[in-house]
Symmetry: C2
Subunit: 274 residues, 2 copies
């Protein structure tokens, strides 16, 4: 029996959201709803307009026999701007100040509602680029990588400072820790987790000296792969020269007064790159 338009639109929306960045042939929907391709085309026009009007992302329609529809979860620039301001407001509290000028972020990085927004915002910068994988370093970066990877619909890989027996063989590198430039640390990645020749987006929570991001860049080179870009949630105050320059940050922790226990979080340069 032919499925009604109302049911088609609901199920179609669900299906598209579950399969971002995936080309879905019209025939799949036509079969799924036992409906003519022309009806499906009309549905998609309605969906496309609604997604655009409501800021739910973009529906890209690919014409022709091999064509179909692709859902691109992208936030509008204004929505990203508002979200970054929301993040600033949330973080501008003295209770978030930790010793050493760090900011307590763990609660936000454990909140699905924040992570969905963080993921969609960061993914928006990379939607038009070819991305095979999102990379981060354990542990804090993992929720960010997962959120971004989910909206780009690509796998994410976790670099570790200590590998486990459940990893199999690994590739390791030594890197200069940015925060104390004479300390050399090790990071490693499971050999199976990244294919040679991959295009990789790096994400992390904090960037201070840049040593960790730099280490991941070296590791990506070891896999004969390519860095598409690097984005961190917060860029921390840092006196001295950073070992990495090509990155974007959602936020900048501008002034930390440990004595008065005040902190000033402002938008980073992410929005300018969108």
């Amino acid at each position: 029996m032919k499925v009604k338009r109302s049911e088609r639109l609901i199920d179609m929306t669900y299906y598209l959201l579950e399969n971002p960045h995936t080309l879905i042939p019209l025939t799949l929907f036509a079969k799924r709803y036992n409906s003519a391709k022309s009806s499906i085309s009309e549905d998609l026009t309605i969906a496309k307009n609604t997604f655009a009007k409501r800021g739910l992302g973009f529906l890209e329609t690919v014409p022709g026999a091999a064509g179909g529809v692709r859902y691109i979860p992208k936030m509008e620039k204004e929505a990203v701007e508002a979200f970054i301001q929301e993040l600033c407001d949330e973080l501008n509290h003295s209770k978030r100040l930790l010793p050493g000028g760090y900011v307590y972020l763990s609660d936000m990085l454990g909140e699905p509602k924040w992570l969905r927004k963080i993921g969609r915002a960061i993914a928006s910068l990379y939607v038009d680029k070819e991305v095979d994988s999102v990379m981060t370093v354990a542990t804090k970066g993992v929720p960010i990588a997962q959120a971004v990877a989910s909206y780009l619909n690509v796998p994410f890989v976790i670099v570790r400072r200590d590998s486990k027996v459940t990893e199999g063989s690994t590739v390791s590198i030594n890197y200069v820790s940015g925060s104390s430039s004479d300390r050399v640390e090790k990071m490693e990645l499971s050999r199976r987790s990244l294919e040679m020749g991959s295009k990789v987006v790096i994400v992390d929570d904090f960037l201070k000296g840049g040593g960790t991001v730099n280490g991941m860049i070296s590791l990506i080179e070891e896999f004969n792969s390519e860095v598409v870009g690097a984005t961190v949630i917060a860029e921390n105050i840092f006196k001295g020269e950073r070992s990495v320059s090509d990155y974007t940050s959602l936020l900048k922790v501008d002034k930390v007064h440990t004595q008065e226990r005040t902190i000033e979080v402002v938008p980073g340069d992410f929005i300018d790159k969108l």
Copy 2:
């Protein structure tokens, strides 16, 4: 201007999926679409039937002045069963066998498409229970916790074996590592990350002796909180008495022949508890 039904249904589906387990008052939709409550009620009836028919989860309608609608992402038992079989088929490969009888899972735990299913499947066991938080141990458990928390729409917390400066003050406990019963290890949790009196679901990737899960149970007690349940992806072969008995597993690694490099992964008891 009044918004058309087709547009309402698309945006409503998106909105519900983004806000699982959240009571959304009819008035919110009525205002959002500049439509009468009676029209919104009709929309929700269509949505409710479609969600049920297509296995997209449940729409719970709450009548009365304080009423509204709540989206419960729950997988049907048959769908969970099929998914667990899919997991078994994927894992029953000798290339996944690691030294010590471990199974290589990292690639799946880095794939958004697997994680969405894992999250929805595990969350299905807890949808009718009161849950405040999902807990796991770094690093492998994090993607699972995030996926489950996302579908339950509650925060997740990460227990660590080594705390970092970005955590703030922590509560730590010592626990007997299950794999070598005489080794005592430490795990800790940021004090700010879990409120006293919380109801907590524990998740992890592997369970061998049960020491880690047991450690998390002790930690939950330190926070005067309550364990709602514990679910692991795979229960590994283990000779001897486990230190924990009250858990469910999606999979059982039944036979590992290290010499012949064969492995047998079968469904665990999770499905019986649904």
